[in-house]
């Protein structure tokens, strides 16, 4: 962790802010870990997310939302910056039913960033990474330029939020 006035991009700090917003908040997603080109988010068990009452498992739609969000964080981790983007396509194979009332963890790797598109692959599991509940592959289309932290030394791109500062 950096100094209090450290402006470098930190995926952990960014996602902890997103935990209180929109669909991430509705799903109760929590930051777990990240690396140079991957990210991990957790979705703790919540009765509001049940998709099948008899099986006591969270909805497949909620697991897709978790994987989609984790994929985004993996792309930003690889870029070292936040960049707005939209999901283009997403494929999921469900390998097995999750254990009743289990929390789900998603781990997604961004394995390629091209000019317009980012490619990701990942898994969702309920405790054992060697026995995942789902595999996913997806691509994202960038919808704007990267947004570096204000005053960041390591990213010379202008901050598009401050359009008046652009050359």
């Amino acid at each position: 962790m950096g100094e209090p006035n450290d402006t470098s991009f930190d995926p952990a700090r960014m996602f902890r802010a997103m935990e209180n917003y929109g669909h991430s908040q509705a799903l109760g997603l929590k930051y777990a870990a990240h690396g140079p080109d991957w990210a991990e988010l957790a979705m703790p068990w919540r009765a509001e997310l049940i998709g099948d009452i008899s099986a006591q498992t969270m909805a497949t739609g909620a697991i897709i939302g978790l994987l989609d969000m984790t994929a985004g964080l993996s792309v930003w981790s690889r870029l070292g910056a936040f960049r707005p983007m939209a999901t283009l396509d997403l494929r999921i194979d469900y390998l097995r039913t999750a254990h009743p009332r289990a929390a789900i963890v998603a781990r997604v790797e961004c394995y390629r960033v091209a000019r317009e598109i980012a490619f990701v692959r990942g898994i969702a599991h309920d405790g054992d990474t060697d026995d995942p509940v789902a595999h996913m592959a997806a691509s994202f289309m960038f919808t704007g330029p990267p947004m570096p932290p204000r005053g960041s030394d390591e990213n010379p791109l202008p901050n598009p939020v401050q359009s008046g500062d652009r050359p």
Partner: protein
């Protein structure tokens, strides 16, 4: 709130604000998802995960209603492939599934989502379901 066969929609559907807009006998129901803060993605847009949730629910509703008359109502999801065609706006969204094939073991469902009546497709998905048959 119930689905086309009278079964209650699960808690996740209520969290997303999904209701059955139109349920005709023998046809797949149209599901409606009203916008709320719980569906927000990037500012001004719907989150891709919420769109996926609606597509998923509409596909399940279509297959449930299609299998309702048979003696093998159980199914498990094998996989889903989603295409996001255009950005989702923060307004009501609709989706309807269509069962394209029910085989001995596997059923295929395609599902479409849109935001304006008669308007362009916003997203689409194809799902394969394993029919679990008599043991249910």
């Amino acid at each position: 709130m119930t689905d086309a066969t009278g079964a209650p929609l699960p808690p996740y559907a209520r969290l997303l604000g999904i209701s059955v807009e139109q349920a005709n006998d023998g046809a797949s129901p149209v599901l409606r998802m009203d916008f709320s803060a719980a569906l927000a993605g990037r500012p001004g847009n719907l989150h891709g995960g919420a769109i996926a949730g609606l597509l998923d629910m509409a596909a399940h509703a279509a297959l449930t209603s299609s299998l309702a008359a048979s003696n093998r109502p159980g199914f498990k999801q094998i996989g889903i492939t989603i295409d996001y065609v255009r950005t989702g706006k923060q307004q009501p969204t609709f989706a309807r599934g269509r069962v394209t094939r029910v085989g001995r073991r596997v059923a295929t469902v395609i599902v479409e989502a849109w935001q304006e009546e008669g308007g362009p497709q916003m997203a689409a998905a194809r799902l394969h379901m394993l029919l679990t048959g008599d043991e249910d």
